[in-house]
Symmetry: C2
Subunit: 315 residues, 2 copies
């Protein structure tokens, strides 16, 4: 298992390489929704996403002996770019398997950071099968995009930083769920003794990719499904380790429609003046679906990333 | 006249109301342009622009006796919203005269902050005439958008903050020029004894609104001209006080084409993950026009604002 002390270790390990991203606020947004929102802007993180944290921690946790043939992963985009970037810092070769319907900006980033790129079909089975075949050929070390403790610990450092930046307690911490790396890491921090109050931790998922929601409500993890959502970063199936932590530590998972996700995304762009990808807008979209649940509360949201094709905006 | 001590006073005065905005960096952008860029993200400032600083300082510098009938201004948008916001903090009525071709987002902001809005033609003569007529009727106090020492002092606080945030010296500080409030305030800081080295200060102007450039090169201020540029925030004529300071303290003014401004704007969105309006992209556009001038240098750029219509992007 894993707890907050590994997340603190991860933070010490990755600090020299990552940004401490700012907290953004908007009075207009607060007035509009009737709650006080704090946005941790991980879209301003290295490689434009919180994924830099987990990949960096995983890469720098590996012994030299375990990576004679470099590292490999499958990713809808941001983890791929993050692993390419982090392995570059350590001088390791890197291969990234990506669904062929990934946004061009994310494909370009993986290439830019110098990884070898292999395309596959857009489902978990294809992603995992392609990676397994490549590992059998090359002997590369798999750094899973979320179902791995070093990755979860790395992602948890965003929440760790968030709590040191907040000047007073929040009622709720929200993060989107794709594979569940960020949400599980955030929950481990929020529910630990490090925080001397007990914020609710709420996951946010698109209705078109609600495998984590279904699993959370039924107690049974969904292992295969076909996501249909604009939130390309959340099309993954929630991981085994992540699901366990989420069931133990997360208070609820909420859903948002596609229309609401686009509306929330545009609101973030126009009010916070930052570029976020659709996945990053899902927590705000969930609040917009049921604002009465959040009236008068202080809510911290992790804005997960800002990588998308500026020529293909959904409005 | 004015010097850095008024700017320090202004900073103390406005600190409770404004954000200390972050400095953004992008390794990819640095590699692309061959210099090291530091972006002071004033698009993340209150009202989405550095203009909050000058308006706030002006409003809180006024005695109760001088504003029995509130305040008034003319503005291409951001100063209007800023004055509406700042006068609201002090409970003063506010009127804003805006060119009728201002972006809808800027018009909406002025209304949102509760000011009375009056439209005029899009030239300086119409702006000034309309304001004069309204002052004659109402007795409101004019807070000029840039040609006023309290406003210049307020805008200068962005550079003051910038220098405390930089961990090592920069070779160049760049800001766009509309009326010259930000550039003159920045120059007063950069060339003061507060900074124990002597960075170059460079203004950036669109080719389609190069009145400051013409004045700077000829030594004679241009008082009337017809700007044609996408950079709606820079369509104003450089002010008298601003021109004097710029001639004394600024090292050079560079120009950028319309195409380059749009290219720079898109590059900022995609690499820095922040929403900036066209005016904010002009300094980067100037570097892209002549990158050889900046090779190997450390350059700080003030990103002035992020207010624009997301439904009408120039790409």
């Amino acid at each position: 298992m894993i707890n907050v002390s590994q997340i603190k270790d991860a933070h010490e390990r990755i600090k020299p390489y990552i940004h401490c991203t700012p907290i953004l606020k908007s009075t207009q947004l607060n007035n509009l929704l009737g709650c006080e929102l704090f946005f941790k802007a991980e879209n301003l993180q290295k490689v434009g996403a919180f994924k830099a944290r987990g990949a960096c921690n995983a890469v720098f946790s590996l012994s030299d002996e375990s990576v004679p043939h470099g590292v490999i992963t499958h990713s809808s985009g941001n983890h791929g770019a993050a692993l390419a970037w982090a392995s570059g810092l350590r001088g390791l070769p890197c291969t990234v398997v990506m669904p062929k319907n990934s946004p061009q900006a994310k494909i370009d980033a993986v290439i830019h950071y110098g990884a070898e790129l292999v395309f596959c079909e857009s489902n978990m089975r294809a992603r995992e099968l392609t990676v397994t075949n490549l590992i059998n050929q090359s002997g590369a070390h798999l750094v899973h995009p979320y179902d791995e403790y070093e990755v979860i610990a790395g992602q948890g450092t965003a929440a760790l930083e968030l709590f040191t930046q907040l000047t007073y307690p929040v009622d709720v911490v929200m993060a989107p769920i794709g594979g569940g790396g960020l949400l599980s890491g955030s929950a481990l921090v929020a529910k630990s003794d490090e925080i001397n109050y007990l914020p609710h931790v709420i996951g946010a998922e698109p209705e078109g990719a609600k495998d984590a929601w279904q699993g959370f409500k039924s107690g049974e993890r969904i292992s295969q499904f076909s996501p249909e959502t604009i939130a390309d970063g959340l099309r993954a199936t929630v991981g085994l380790r992540n699901f366990k932590i989420i069931c133990n530590q997360v208070d609820d998972i909420l859903l948002a429609s596609e229309e609401r996700i686009v509306e929330a995304m545009k609101l973030i762009w126009s009010r916070l003046k930052v570029v976020v990808e659709p996945s990053a807008a899902v927590p705000l979209a969930c609040i917009m679906e049921e604002p009465e649940k959040f009236y008068g509360q202080r809510v911290a949201i992790i804005l997960t990333g800002g990588n998308l094709d500026l020529d293909q905006l959904p409005w």
